[in-house]
Symmetry: C2
Subunit: 195 residues, 2 copies
Amino acid sequence: MTVVLASSSSARRRMLEQAGVAALCDAADIDEAAVKRRDGQAAAATIALDLAELKARAVTARHPGALVIGSDQMLDCEGEWFDKPESMAEARSQLARLRGRTHTLISAVAIVRDDTVLWRHCDSASLTMRPFSDAYREDYLAAAGPDVCRTVGCYRIEGPGLQLFSRVDGDHFVILGMPLLALLGALRDLGELKS
Amino acid sequence: MTVVLASSSSARRRMLEQAGVAALCDAADIDEAAVKRRDGQAAAATIALDLAELKARAVTARHPGALVIGSDQMLDCEGEWFDKPESMAEARSQLARLRGRTHTLISAVAIVRDDTVLWRHCDSASLTMRPFSDAYREDYLAAAGPDVCRTVGCYRIEGPGLQLFSRVDGDHFVILGMPLLALLGALRDLGELKS
């Protein structure tokens, strides 16, 4: 059976590859902001699950019979949702708001085959940014460069972004953007991976 | 100040590098088995801390004034300690013993400067191997090859080894072999990293 990852995220592709799952990548093109506006009153987990499913559904027509994986991640800090920053100025402001506080990363994944949702799953992790100095933030942004705008929360935990944190609780793969361990279990249950 | 990593572990070196800490590597040559035999009645955490300190102490003379980091990891499965397997046959037998059970990875780290231990820290993570089939185990060992003998527990969680597990609880870096987040905090407290 073919596994398709409906995501342009290199972190998700790398995660699957490293775990030994060969997947074809075909990114879905959906208007995430519209979904978030439409479902603005729902819980972040609900929206993440809906977006994961929507991304998978968006490409199933191109891959009949294949298991299509969609995934989404939301960042919630005391009720406020953060998207990827659109500029270094926005990254600077986001870091100022996240600093010294604990935020939640919610990662959702869905498996869809043709018109059928076979499985959905959501998990979260809790991360506390330390009260770093403004000088530290500037050094960090200068070193990270415009790449910070490609990440929710302005960091990659697997890089120097780790130095922003005093505490990290939760599954590493959930933090990277996809609940991989649960996904591997679902792929085994579906007969796609050996048991 | 110079930071020295008294370890030959490429995972630990990579961890530090990715977090943005430049460290010189100078592996300590100590007889770990002798320490484990001598301290056999102690808790695994005590031995891991002692070994981390011992590794750092073993190279301080070559790096006067430098912060030397030593680190050690132990695997405890229901009171039984596992070392790196010495052969594929031993890896096969270790996987059979770990399968379907929960084991603990204990990672310790110490910072020593000249004759002074500046800081020691230990943390643990809990991992449950699923009841995989013998056929799966053989496929896994064939794909992983002799490299499994370089890892405690016969797996790298950041590779196909993840498929061995049904559940993983605990800090990712503790699982990789060093409590990195706590170490970064200690290096900040010691003035080695910016705050």
